[in-house]
């Protein structure tokens, strides 16, 4: 029996560990699917997936689009630049129109925290949160933990260091929930202005000393530093940020040799990570992207009422 009973995937906060594990299990099968010659299964034939991206995104949007197509769903993409938002239509009215067109899934990327939950409560179809403001990005956390699991065989007991702009990061929040639910030890690291102490109350360690935290980390998870934060007085300069929190080869020498380097993308080469490390042997950044596809297929499959398939044959029938 599937432990997945949800209509929507809005947050990791409200999921339990077994539900996360079921996504991982399903993603393993779908990863086999996307490695085959014919990368398509009929699981969502006749279903309609609407990608509603009210905030710019390339990677996540393409990943969801491809995931839906691999599942044989019909996919419609709505971008903010050509949507009725520009004419002042409210989010509620927009999604109710999509529902009236009989969409089965709405994948929402939105700049406002809570936007996905807001529409999930008002729609009968399934809603997938593809990032809502600084709140959550659940499929990112599912693909991140899937990648760690694949590389390390376990999550429990891993020491995961998440560094950079934590305050404004929905990725950090979803990863904190997923990792702590799965038994990892999470350490956050960044400047005090981008990492308030209140994060401790989420059950993680808070540190402002990158050099002290690096040697103990099994996973080094770097977050993109957003240049516009500088204008908001969050730190004095990119140069100073790099000095304190940039991952460099010198710093890497102090790390565990098999430490994984992860990043949700897009990378600022030379800021949070040097170019050679991003492309180096410890980096699994591109595998995260591949796994993202498998994880999103798994999520669509489970939300459609499926149970984690054990073999490709089960879904390819």
């Amino acid at each position: 029996m599937s432990v997945w009973k949800r209509k929507d995937l809005v947050s990791i906060q409200h999921m339990d560990a077994d539900e996360i594990r079921e996504v991982h299990a399903a993603a393993r099968t779908f990863k086999d699917v996307i490695r085959r010659e014919i990368k398509k299964v009929p699981a969502l034939r006749g279903k309609t997936v609407v990608n509603l991206f009210v905030e710019p995104s390339t990677r996540t949007r393409i990943s969801f689009e491809l995931a839906a197509k691999r599942m044989s769903a019909d996919v419609v993409a709505v971008h903010s630049e050509n949507s009725s938002f520009r004419k002042g239509e409210t989010l509620k009215d927009t999604v109710r129109n999509l529902e009236a067109l009989r969409a089965d899934f709405v994948v929402l990327r939105h700049k406002a925290a809570g936007a996905a939950q807001f529409i999930a409560e008002r729609l009968g179809c399934s809603v997938i949160n593809a990032g809502d403001g600084a709140h959550e990005h659940p499929t990112q956390a599912l693909l991140d933990t899937f990648t760690m699991l694949e590389k390390r065989g376990r999550i429990e007991g891993l020491r995961v260091l998440i560094a950079g702009d934590i305050l404004f990061s929905r990725v950090a929040r979803s990863d904190i929930w997923a990792l702590t639910k799965l038994g990892a030890k999470v350490v956050l690291c960044g400047p005090t202005t981008l990492l308030p102490d209140v994060f401790r109350e989420m059950g993680v360690e808070v540190s402002h000393d990158f050099d002290r935290e690096l040697p103990g980390a099994d996973v080094i998870y770097l977050l993109r530093v957003q240049h516009e934060r500088q204008q908001h007085m969050m730190f004095p300069s990119i140069g100073e940020f790099v000095t304190l929190f940039g991952l460099t080869p010198e710093r890497m020498e102090k790390c565990k040799p098999d430490a994984l380097i992860m990043h949700p993308g897009p990378i600022n080469r030379g800021v949070e990570i040097t170019s050679e490390l991003a492309d180096g042997p410890n980096s699994v950044i591109l595998e995260q992207v591949t796994n993202g596809l498998a994880v999103r297929m798994a999520v669509l499959y489970l939300l459609n009422g499926g149970q984690a398939p054990e073999t490709v044959r089960e879904v390819a029938a």
């Binding site: 939105h110 406002a112 809570g114 709140h135 929905r170 929040r173 209140v198 994060f199 109350e201 989420m202």
Partner: protein
């Protein structure tokens, strides 16, 4: 003051527990009004009475005064107007309300005030007192003509909703308002520290990824205002105080002899920022809901007299405006029709504050603060504004029954204990629970 004409007859309210904090009365006795004024019951023969209200088992209080109401007129009569807002007040037990000046256009000129007075005289069912802006257009740049505003009838000035940021302008406002004897009320918010904030900065804002509106942004301005009040020797009233630090700053300033007072709302006394965890915009207000620790400090401040005034900050908004993403929703909730129940349940039944103490902050204290003559008490000669309260009445909030045009309440479906059952303005019953459709 603008409002309904007083009743001409003789009204006797018999056998209720009269609680008149201003006159130190708390006993079962009759209250008699003749021609809209309170008279000595001994001087009026029972036979001469036109109307008798049996108040046995009820509390008979001076008519409640809400010092902080948004009537939305002119500008947004779809949210509220003088008729609906004052009906909501009557239904909540309020006989006088103080309208905030952040209308569209803002109430920053004598002509705007004159229009509002006329509107209130035509349509209001309770007394309406008007306030004017501190700065022209609430832009925080130039003072309003406060002497003209006062002549036109305002009882105070405030830039509620748009705190004056420029400390020099605020200093001049204190000095000028002091000269003409107009109280200053301030919505205390440092706009830089609170920029973008939509809820209290803390555990929940961090978890939800919503921009925080930190306590320090409120406390910074309360501190500034305390210093300006001390410097200019004029009174300042801090509207809707929400933080433990704010209570402490006001308490300490008072101990130094500074002329400062504080106000608290039913929602800040009963709800915390945790209520926003499902992104329900009926828990989005400015200032935001704070923490349990702040609530404790506010209650302590009420108890020791630091916070003298209870007011609702009744802020009506249309449902479609509130039913949007949390960050996009307007701030504020309606409060007139739930205040008595929320306050009595939280402060009296739960926290055990005496009714007399609670009622003082809804009657004589706001009347004194704003210089409302003959209001807020039941002594001989006072206006016959009277609220009958059943402190034990159990009821469930149903927003469909609101007299307000707006339904943005966080208490829909909530069980409350304590309710106003009759509202009397100028000796006339303007609302009676017994006559409300079931």
């Amino acid at each position: 003051m603008s409002g309904p004409k007083p009743g001409a007859g003789v009204l006797r309210i018999r056998g209720g527990l009269v609680i008149d904090p201003a006159n130190g009365v708390e006993s079962v006795c009759d209250v008699v009004a003749v021609g809209g004024r309170i008279v000595d019951p001994a001087g009026v023969a029972h036979a001469a009475t036109d109307d008798v209200i049996d108040a046995r088992g009820l509390v008979v209080a001076p008519g409640l005064i809400d010092a902080h109401v948004h009537l939305r007129e002119p500008g947004r009569p779809d949210k509220e107007d003088f008729a609906s807002g004052t009906r909501a007040a009557a239904r909540g037990g309020f006989t006088s309300i103080v309208a905030m000046p952040n209308t569209a256009p803002p109430a920053d000129s004598a002509s705007a005030i004159a229009w509002m007075r006329q509107r209130a005289e035509e349509r209001a069912v309770v007394n309406v007192f008007l306030t004017g802006c501190i700065s022209q257009g609430q832009k925080g740049e130039l003072l309003t003509p406060m002497a003209s505003l006062k002549k036109a009838g305002v009882v105070a000035v405030t830039d509620d909703g748009q705190c004056v940021q420029n400390a020099e302008l605020m200093r001049r406002a204190f000095e000028y308002a002091g000269m003409i004897g107009l109280p200053i009320m301030d919505h205390c918010q440092d706009n830089n520290l609170s920029a973008g904030g939509v809820m209290n900065e803390g555990y929940w804002s961090n978890l939800l990824g919503l921009p925080g509106w930190p306590a320090i942004a409120e406390e910074m301005i309360i501190s500034r205002d305390a210093l300006l009040a001390e410097f200019t020797s004029h009174h300042v009233h801090c509207q809707h105080v929400t933080t433990a630090g704010g209570v402490r700053i006001i308490r300490e300033a008072k101990q130094r002899g500074v002329r400062i007072s504080g106000e608290a709302t039913p929602h800040h006394l009963t709800l915390t920022d945790a209520a926003a965890q499902d992104f329900d915009t009926n828990f989005k207000m400015n200032p935001p809901l704070r923490t349990a620790r702040d609530i404790d400090a506010l209650v302590e401040g009420l108890d020791d007299g630091t916070i003298e005034v209870l007011a609702t900050d009744h802020a009506p908004h249309c449902s479609y405006e509130k039913e949007v993403e949390f960050e996009a929703a307007p701030f504020g909730i309606v409060g007139l029709e739930t205040a008595v129940g929320v306050l009595l349940q939280a402060l009296h039944h739960h926290r055990k504050l005496p009714l007399c103490k609670i009622l003082r902050k809804l009657t004589i204290n706001p009347a004194k603060l704003l210089g409302l003559a003959n209001k807020g008490h039941l002594g001989v000669g006072a206006d016959a504004d009277i609220t009958l309260i059943d402190p034990g009445a159990e009821w469930v909030v149903d927003r469909a029954k609101f007299a307000s045009k707006s339904h943005n309440t966080p208490w829909h479906g909530t069980h409350l204990r304590g309710r106003a059952v009759k509202t009397i303005v100028g000796g006339r019953v303007v609302w009676d629970l017994a006559r409300e459709a079931p």
